[in-house]
Symmetry: none
Subunit: 225 residues, 4 copies
């Protein structure tokens, strides 16, 4: 089973033009793509976690959904928590890719910032936050090692800070007037954007919010205010 994986690995149709167009993840090359056991296991797990939450998904459920024996799970993941960590790592890797792609696109400042926000938050929303059990998936153990999402986040912040600096130099935005440095400005933007998920009722709703938050925040940074 696993609509999850099929979607997560599906290439989106190419020629999208909006800032939100975001391609997805090329599956890592496998000798026999049909037997990427750990991948299949994670697919099944994601599906089930989203549907029933972490607590109410048993290792047995995952094994059944992945068509492997329970013991097999423990060959690839030392524990249920590590299996979850594996999920987080895969998610993180995919976000990294999407963010990188967004940054590489040739777009005006504001559009690019929105594209980046969408790459990061939209992805998470689609795969995690839109689940009725999102809170359990945020981190069921509160133990995700720093290296799971940390590096991606660092890189993102650095890149956005650079974008901001450029824009400041160009006189388009005025951080000082708002009492901010590039870093605090980025932090503020990301935090605010993160709030878009709050009680969002669907992806459309989420995106409208995200866009409004992004635009309003950037508006507050404009020069000559």
């Amino acid at each position: 089973m696993g609509i999850a994986r099929s979607v997560m690995t599906a290439k989106k149709a190419a020629g999208a033009k909006s800032p939100r167009a975001k391609p997805a993840v090329p599956p890592p090359a496998l000798k026999n793509p049909a037997s990427d056991k750990p991948g299949l296991i994670l697919d099944a797990a994601l599906d089930l976690f989203r549907q029933h939450g972490y607590r109410r998904t048993s290792m047995e459920d995952i094994a059944n959904a992945a068509n492997v024996a329970k013991g097999t799970l423990y060959i690839y993941f030392k524990s249920k928590d590590e299996l979850f960590e594996g999920l987080a790592r895969r998610l993180s890797a995919q976000i990294a890719q999407d963010v990188k792609a967004a940054l590489a696109r040739k777009l005006p400042f504001e559009d690019k910032v929105l594209a980046v926000l969408d790459a990061k938050l939209g992805f998470v929303y689609r795969w995690v936050l839109s689940s009725p059990h999102a809170s359990e998936l945020t981190d069921p153990t509160s133990q995700l090692p720093d290296d799971v999402f940390g590096p991606v986040d660092q890189a993102l912040r650095a890149s956005l800070a650079d974008l901001f600096k450029t824009e400041v130099k160009a006189g388009k935005i005025d951080l000082k007037g708002a009492g901010l440095t590039p870093e605090t400005a980025v932090d503020t933007l990301l935090a605010a954007a993160h709030g878009a998920e709050m009680g969002a009722t669907g992806e459309e709703h989420f995106h409208e919010r995200l866009t409004r938050i992004g635009r309003l925040t950037l508006r507050g940074l404009r020069s000559g205010l």
Copy 2:
């Protein structure tokens, strides 16, 4: 045992003047104020949930911490989930009070908005989100009845929308220019503010963020941009 309640019910020193001043909760009258069993149980539960999370706090733990027998928990709360709901209701009631107080204060527009945001989010942050197990406390069952937080939220939104309208009439802010109605503006503001919690490392950090988000967002609404 129970710093939670002592803090939650402690009267804050009166004459605070900063926008962040937070009044608190008049305990409901009790026959024997020294033995508000359900209250003591909730105190113990909140403490433990914050420390160890919902899943890893057993009813036995709660009973021990509250110095009552396991069975006593079930006199006041039908199940572990209902106990959690009780916690949420108490939280909600306290937020409602604080928000109301913030709205009643005589402050300039921006300060009042920040005060309201702080009343709502700061309270939640202090009692829920600052826990390493925050995600589990958001709603372990994804089943909190609508009437727990809904009404408070509705009222808050309505009040903020009124504030905005007044400010629009006074020509101080310009929602149309930002493509917003009072309601979408409030939604955007609240959502953005909600993001302040994201990975905050402490209450100070949280507040700085919240303030920056609030100010930046309001800045984006100013007239004559």
Copy 3:
């Protein structure tokens, strides 16, 4: 709330003529009939035991149904098991009365035997065996003291044996031919009659069976076979 007792104590309309007519129990005189607490408790208990079985009826249920506090039950009955025993004693007393009445009636031999069987088994059937939880009511603890039903049974057997002896003397039945003594004949008859309850689907069904068993058994005892 006690349909049980009202029925159990209700006087049946008088002039019934069939062998099956069986009057019931005059309530013991009480100073204040409205406050026969133990009686009301037993009424409630019987009701509930019949509906939900012994196991699934809690002392709290009984207390609620009897409109007394839980602690009150323990004033009149030392334990749940003793409460049940009280029920059994009341039942036994009522059977004793009905059997006595049946024996006192002026009826031909076969009719009288059937009337006695009905007094004993019909009563039990109506109040115990017709419940879906009969098996639990037969004796939830397997600990009913001998003196609860024993004496009634002894008396019944003795009386029936006398009836048989008389009938033998009159040459109407022939126990020797069937290899029986009066006592074994009575035991056989009672045991067989007892089987009438087996899977009976209602009181009518039960009575047809009981009658057929009685008649067929007595038929097997007829002289000149």
Copy 4:
């Protein structure tokens, strides 16, 4: 542990000639006959249920007696009630076999009827009714699915009815004279026989009763009465 199973599966010495001869059960083929886990569990359970009753036998007790872990019980039986149902099914299967064997024996009418009654009721008596907790074993949940004992009972009734019809044709018995059809005659006989269990003090006592009831009932059916 487990005299239960050893007896229940023990082959009785072959050539028994009395009406009471009881053949037994060919154990289903097992990979490892020494570890029929569900069978061993049922053995332990039957032992304990007979000794202490259903309620007072905990799953833990059963697990200990069967030398398996508590969780193992739930591999084979979804719940305590289903475990009981398993017991009933095994019992039913064995009764079916014994009844079939009794019907296959070449015996005169009356002896065969007695043999059949003994096959059905004697077995139940030995394994269930002779327990001091029989009432709890009759059906602790009042929920045994119809397909557990129903089919066996149906088949038995049909076979006995056939026997009766044959005997009627041969002029040996006279159902009409007793106001019965073959089916009601069978029902009456079975019900009466069922009563043999009532307060039986041991297997001998039970059998005497059963035999007397059977003979007396059949005697009542004889032609030319």
